[in-house]
């Protein structure tokens, strides 16, 4: 989190409740999802969310390499979240750093919670997320892209997984943090929802929140996830239905 009172902290919230980019407290950034964006992958999706650009691809279920990783009674889910060197302000050295490895793990576990892995013993379902341009909320954008890619690949699941980060900015609980809000705000809470059950399969938090603030944040996050869910479904319906041509777009 940024330091309060630092010289160049931007104004995160105006007196009339507008955020740094003019959004209301409970408003998502513009979200556009294109299912089936890639040719080589079994399933894929491209997400443009605010200033994030994230690509996801799914391969599988397929044979496991190396073989000793395979499980006798189910598929394993191998998830790799990676950021391109040019995706962030300060060039990032290529390769998985510890942050990427942790994100890969929590996203992979979110999917393992909803994929019917017993359907495909001794196989691997490989989920790859590449962040091409980052502006806060990349793990949520990546998870959303990968979820659409999994459906595009025909992988059986309990549900799609909408995700969003809620935060606390200038004392207020807000939906879908952008970069400055993430850097200078007081808390960040990414989450992913299984709409069918109403349960969360990804939940992380960092910062300071009271119990009441947390409770409010959870509710706001679930509402935000419901909105993201509609955009995800639209993207898949566009790809697979007759007559629609525009990929899923959110009303801003």
């Amino acid at each position: 989190m940024g330091s309060v009172g630092a010289k160049d902290v931007p104004v995160l919230l105006t007196a009339d409740g507008k955020r740094i980019d003019g959004r209301r407290l409970d408003e998502l950034r513009p979200l556009k999802i294109t299912a089936g964006a890639l040719h080589a992958a079994d399933g894929s999706a491209f997400v443009e969310w605010g200033a994030n650009k994230v690509m996801a691809a799914v391969y599988g279920p397929r044979e496991v390499h190396p073989r000793h990783l395979q499980e006798n009674n189910k598929a394993i889910v191998q998830c790799r979240y990676n950021m391109a060197a040019f995706s962030v302000d300060e060039r990032k050295r290529p390769g998985l750093d510890r942050r990427s490895q942790e994100i890969s793990k929590v996203i992979g576990e979110a999917f393992e919670s909803v994929i019917f892995v017993e359907e495909y013993p001794r196989t691997s379902i490989d989920v790859y997320i590449e962040v091409l341009q980052a502006n806060a909320g990349t793990r949520c954008a990546g998870l959303v892209a990968a979820s659409v890619a999994l459906a595009d690949a025909g992988i059986p699941m309990v549900d799609l997984l909408p995700a969003v980060a809620v935060g606390k900015v200038a004392g207020e609980i807000v939906l879908d943090l952008k970069k400055e809000e993430d850097n200078y705000g007081e808390a960040d809470l990414p989450m992913a929802l299984v709409p069918q059950s109403g349960r969360l399969v990804l939940l992380q938090m960092e910062g300071h929140m009271t119990k009441a603030e947390l409770s409010k944040a959870l509710d706001l996050g679930v509402k935000g996830c419901q909105q993201v869910y509609e955009v995800m479904k639209d993207a898949l319906r566009s790809r697979y239905a007759v007559g629609r041509s525009a990929p899923g777009e959110a009303a801003a």
Binding site: P61, R62, A75, D152, I155, P156, V194, Q196, Y240, V242
Partner: protein, 282 residues
């Protein structure tokens, strides 16, 4: 998986049911609730607390007594009696491993062939890179896929060309009662073996192979637009040349007849189809 509430997720089916199924074209996504109407939840669905949901992206299909989802995408999921085209990826002492485009490779045992092979001689009969037509025999709980090359229309493939399309499109390639594949072979003189796994072998003159390949591309990319059958016939008739097809080789499997059981009337027959559009730009 999670909380254990789900009961009986069914593996994804493909077809083979009786043809008196409902013909509605309802696209469902994973997690969408399906009205079960007293039907049994079948492939592509799962049940929680008495309610039925889709688990895969596909077409809702009521084939009493079951409600199922016909997947519109994804790798080939094998079913017993499917005839598929595989590529040999590994050779062992008593068997070969075949890549059939399924989640797992399929072992073909030497006793599953018409040849009398001694231990260690397998490489003399099939090498890595060879293509074969085999039938699925068993799917075990471990995921092991048993295949055989013993049977009519099965065997090693030589010459010709191979095309790969989405397995979800195969019913369209075959057509109701074999009408589409019959039209294709009749108007081109090509010999065609259609694998349920989306792989299709074509043999004939270079022109015939080219025309069949183009028709398959049309089915894969334009199958969701109405009037496909007319467009295919129009294309084949307008590109018919004076030259007759080359004589088929005698050692390869015979062509033409739909392989496998009657396809479930899934993604459209002669009218509009729901299916993936060609990959959009992003």
């Amino acid at each position: 998986m999670g909380s254990g509430h789900r009961t009986g997720h069914r593996g994804r089916g493909r077809g083979g049911g009786p043809p008196n199924a409902s013909r509605e074209r309802v696209l469902v996504l994973p997690g969408e609730e399906i009205p079960a109407d007293g039907l049994k939840p079948g492939p592509g669905t799962y049940r929680v607390n008495g309610r039925v949901y889709a688990s895969v992206l596909g077409l809702l299909n009521h084939t009493p007594p079951t409600v199922r989802i016909i997947p519109l995408s994804g790798r080939y999921i094998p079913h017993p009696h499917d005839v598929v085209i595989g590529t040999v990826t590994d050779v062992q002492g008593t068997f070969w491993l075949l890549d059939i485009g399924a989640p797992r490779w399929a072992p073909l045992h030497m006793t599953g062939t018409p040849w009398k092979i001694d231990f260690g001689e397998t490489a003399q009969y099939l090498k890595v890179g060879n293509s074969v037509v085999v039938a699925i025999e068993t799917i075990e709980n471990t995921g092991r896929i048993g295949v055989t090359m013993l049977g009519e229309g099965l065997g090693k493939l030589e010459g010709g060309s191979l095309v790969e399309i989405s397995p979800a499109r195969i019913p369209r390639v075959i057509g109701r009662g074999g009408s589409m594949i019959g039209t294709i072979t009749r108007l081109t003189g090509a010999r065609v073996v259609v694998g349920q796994n989306g792989r299709i072998w074509i043999d004939g003159s270079p022109e015939a192979i080219l025309r069949v390949t183009e028709v398959l591309r049309m089915i894969e990319e334009e199958g969701q637009r109405p009037g496909l059958t007319e467009r295919v016939q129009g294309y084949l008739q307008s590109t018919a040349g004076p030259r007759p097809a080359r004589e088929p080789r005698s050692d390869a499997p015979r062509p033409g007849d739909p392989t496998g059981p009657e396809p479930l009337p899934g993604p459209g027959e002669d009218d509009e189809t729901i299916g993936p559009s060609p990959g959009p730009d992003f």
